[in-house]
Symmetry: C2
């Protein structure tokens, strides 16, 4: 069972919530899982057609005078089975690429100043992210209590929160290390 297209499962997942159009799916993804998933129309529209041709989804066309038709897709039983099979299959854990780390790995070439710049920018990003996760969490707890999906949504938000918190700590530690390194460099060049 090789790692197949993951976009299709994301799409099936949202269709499992109810019938919607490609446009709707895009909006939903941005609003709900945008922090760890995104899809472009270039993926969504072809995949919806494909799902239909495979019998995993059905399409109902809503004509709208003048404007292009609205195509509302709904998931089929076969689609639900496919989705559930994916949910039950193991996650393949190939570590993804990290451009920041690659730069830092070679950062001696660029010097401490540059490295500090990279980390500071990254720290600001994580800081914003952390606040966002906090905000989402309290918003969810406030506005969606009772929703049976809520615990699972919170789990994904908590993930982001834990990671951002850890990365902020790493940034501070790293800025300390780099500061020390710079001090030493300064001392060395004074002597030399």
């Amino acid at each position: 069972m090789r790692a197949r297209n993951r976009s299709r499962y994301a799409i099936l997942g949202f269709l499992s919530w109810g019938p919607m159009s490609g446009y709707d799916i895009r909006k939903m993804i941005e609003a709900s899982v945008g922090n760890f998933w995104r899809e472009s129309y270039g993926q969504i529209y072809p995949i919806l057609r494909q799902l239909e041709s495979e019998g995993l989804a059905r399409c109902r066309v809503e004509p709208r005078d003048g404007r292009p038709d609205r195509k509302v897709y709904s998931i089929s039983d076969a689609g639900r089975r496919e989705l559930d099979a994916w949910l039950a299959s193991p996650v393949d854990d190939q570590p993804s690429r990290n451009e920041l780390l690659l730069k830092l790995f070679f950062a001696r070439r660029a010097g401490t100043e540059e490295a500090v710049g990279l980390v500071e920018t990254f720290r600001e990003l994580q800081s914003r992210l952390f606040e966002r996760y906090e905000a989402i969490e309290s918003e969810l707890r406030g506005g969606h209590s009772g929703d049976a999906d809520l615990p699972y949504w919170l789990i994904t938000v908590r993930y982001g929160r834990h990671v951002s918190r850890a990365l902020l700590d790493w940034c501070d530690e790293t800025l300390g290390t780099l500061g020390e390194l710079r001090r030493k460099e300064g001392a060395a060049s004074e002597k030399g």
Copy 2:
């Protein structure tokens, strides 16, 4: 300045350490940055040729009787400039996809048991990773003291360590949440 091919910079980075072949580069990447970067030959060999044609690297052919030639590439001054420009450019921070979180987001469909399974598997992975980071760190501190690159290498390892530690905490928290959820489900089904 659109986001160009990152593989080329990884390759230039290793060439900046000294002349080496495509095969060498692959091994080096695995051994040094394998936890957050990887390259396939399908990328490496064509890119090396391309770098040469752009004047960013030079190639020296070592004929070996019988076996295929060994092609040793070295970085040029232009290549160094290209590498340094990349090092100084900002990291683009599009959050990458996270399949585990996507599954957990929809996990109510699959049920608590399945969710627990996913998280437990992930926890084992992180546990192994964390130990690996610890081992690498002490190995580096022991065997490479004095190497001017060491502080930067340690920074990348510490990143992994911080993240793995945070993810272990998240796993434990999540397994707690899911356990509670299962208890409630059990209680509800007893009543019903």
